[in-house]
Symmetry: C2
Subunit: 421 residues, 2 copies
């Protein structure tokens, strides 16, 4: 089929891969975590202080054990979510400090807001997993906020959820909570019930928080969502080709660490590569470059036969307006159409990650439903075409008056929940 979006050739994907390997060999990745560096040393990686260097062979070995498909188990097992291939998760927005809500100016988020978002996920017919840090609650101590959020995830929602990767200790806390739910640490290790967001500090660095969390989560068979957040022009080069090579190097290094910690531990790879608005220094989330990079990043994940992550429904708009609508639609449609397996920020996010909005959550749910519906195939065969019926109605006829139309009127079409007609 004709398609105007860029489709990388095997040569182009290999060119990016080779550049990533070159960067991993020459620049390396700094891991600010002693155990991570020790683990690399133990497996014969070349290191220099906290910097670890990777060869093609090291990366190939990691790619050999990382699964291309896995299942996220939910407390209600009818809500398990498959990740990989044709299957994908839609998770809500992540990391917002503020809540934006009709009639209220932007305000700091509370734990009650967090819990409301848990309830919105629980009652959603399309958002199939719960997040973490959907908003950052300001009314609970920072030290225990992750426990409050995890507890809320468990009590307000029985879908799979994201766990706390905010520090090694926070990851351990999550694992201990999960162990209580799932019958002990050994039982937990047999299944994947969470996926947690691991983000390199670009360029070329994993903090002790991220590296430590990665090791803890991988060891307990919990999925790491390796999502680089490169901003072209600040944490990455302005040329998008170079940006893809750097992002890919950082992600491959993360995959390698998870597979050393626990060969076969599930990972999801990708990121939300963005650009810097050069006039203001602001993050430009809704830009067309993000659409391009989203498509490119998914193609790279597929090249490695790993589940692909994309960040979607993003916008630089501060209100759920037309800009929010079309920017969200462009990334979401592209990512889902091109085969993403994990959509972060699928619902609720506004203002370049600054705020979560209840209204936008509902709007994005409708958008998600519509994107999914629009990708369902039309069955084409003699029976579905049914020329007999069309002949019967004939020239100038009225289909609305036909019994067949009446019979199909409740099921034939997608029924929107929110949009007006």
């Amino acid at each position: 089929m004709y398609d105007r979006i860029q489709r990388f050739s095997l040569e182009e994907l290999t060119e990016i891969h080779d550049a990533s390997i070159h960067l991993l060999e020459t620049v390396g990745i700094r891991f600010d975590d002693d155990e991570a560096v020790d683990l690399f040393k133990l497996h014969g990686f070349k290191t220099n202080g906290k910097t670890v260097f990777f060869t093609e062979k090291n990366i190939r070995r990691a790619l050999d054990t990382a699964p291309s498909h896995f299942k996220l188990i939910a407390r209600d097992i009818t809500k398990n979510v498959d990740i990989g291939g044709d299957d994908f998760a839609l998770a809500p927005g992540y990391g917002a400090s503020f809540v934006s809500s009709n009639g209220h100016p932007r305000r700091y988020a509370t734990l009650a807001d967090y819990q409301k978002f848990c309830q919105l996920v629980q009652t959603s017919d399309v958002i199939n997993m719960n997040g973490f840090l959907m908003v950052s609650p300001r009314d609970v101590p920072a030290k225990t906020a992750h426990l409050e959020m995890l507890y809320s995830n468990i009590v307000y929602c029985d879908k799979p959820f994201m766990a706390s990767p905010l520090s090694r200790e926070a990851a351990r806390d999550a694992i201990n909570l999960l162990a209580i739910m799932w019958g002990g640490l050994e039982e937990l290790k047999k299944m994947t019930v969470t996926a947690s967001l691991i983000t390199p500090l670009s360029p070329f660095r994993y903090t002790t928080e991220m590296a430590g969390s990665m090791i803890e989560l991988a060891r307990h068979n919990q999925a790491c969502v390796l999502g680089a957040l490169l901003m072209a022009g600040s944490s990455g080069p302005t040329n998008l080709a170079g940006m893809l090579a750097q992002q890919n190097a950082e992600i491959l290094a993360g995959v390698a660490l998870t597979q050393l910690a626990n060969p076969g531990a599930p990972v999801i790879v990708g990121g939300t590569p963005t650009i810097l608005d050069m006039r203001t220094g602001c993050l430009a989330m809704g830009s067309p470059e993000v659409v391009k990079l989203t498509s490119a990043t998914i193609q790279l994940a597929k090249f490695y036969n790993l589940p692909a992550r994309a960040g979607c429904s993003n916008t630089d708009a501060h209100l759920p307006d037309a800009q929010a609508g079309f920017e969200s639609a462009l990334t979401l449609m592209t990512a889902i159409r091109n085969g993403t397996n994990f959509v972060l920020h699928a619902a609720g996010i506004l203002g370049s990650y600054a705020a979560m909005s209840f209204e936008k959550f509902l709007i994005d749910e409708e958008l998600c439903r519509m994107v999914i519906e629009s990708l369902k195939p039309i069955i084409i065969d003699k029976e579905s075409i049914d020329t007999d019926f069309i002949e019967e109605v004939g020239i100038g006829g009225d289909y609305l008056a036909q019994t067949k139309t009446l019979e199909q009127c409740r099921t034939a079409f997608f029924l929107p929940n929110l949009v007006n007609l």
Copy 2:
């Protein structure tokens, strides 16, 4: 590349084609125009009163002479627009009765509104051709409104435009005006300077206005945009496969008439197939079925190697809100990505065709720019990846402080005109 949108197989396209031919053979198409029926008779078509029947051979012959690519000549020849293959036109909204504008309730449109839209097209960096009947002016006599609109098209804008197909006489008036501009009727016949919207009255009928216009325009080498407007559940069956077959039959009959009138006359084929909202009886323009049908319709046009038409940026929203944003984005992105060659309603339309909005025009322009930019490829080679530069910045480095970033800061990224960052 992995793609979740439906890609019809050659077998499926042939199944639709065969069903269309079957319908053309058995039901036929009614042409309420004597000259059209006479023309078919003259070429040996089977007729019954005003109903014309078509064979596979009749259709094949028409498809043999219809061009796959042509050029729309503008008064300013630097603004010529190629149609076909990779090339496409973006035309504004069409057929609205109302104007919706900030601070004003929906009101009937005037000629001054029409002229403002002409000016918006003229100054647009992305809408590359002017429309016709963008709004229907209520302050001029209906009998001469087409002359006022055509005259406005000519004096306010030097891009190619759509001509008046409202009746045979209106088409002739347009041709006479064009002849004045282009040096006489014989000169005009040597080039295509307009594309006009021809719509069957589904099911299976062309009115005398449409059939007469088609003959006049084709004879003078002006393009006909054959756009069926089937509504599943009212003018077409609820099953989308049947709808595609019926739409295709109606369009192929139109192509045949243009090619009898003037073999080689340019046509653009497709339509804006929609569904009926079964709860309200309203047209549902922004529905996911429209996205599916848009993709399917373009694939059928490509199957026939003809320029493809799609109606995009459509929405059922009555204000330029989030719904308007995402509904417009879903059809526009799908159509342009999948290879449309003529986008009607690319800017300004609201409320299921009811109104044109100046605000939505500007929003849609930004959306068009962003879709086009997001489909531009990233060059992937050693030079563009530039690992030397990435190595130089290194672990924890800052790209913003680099000379190379400064050098590229004005040109590296798409600069939005309207959206906030």
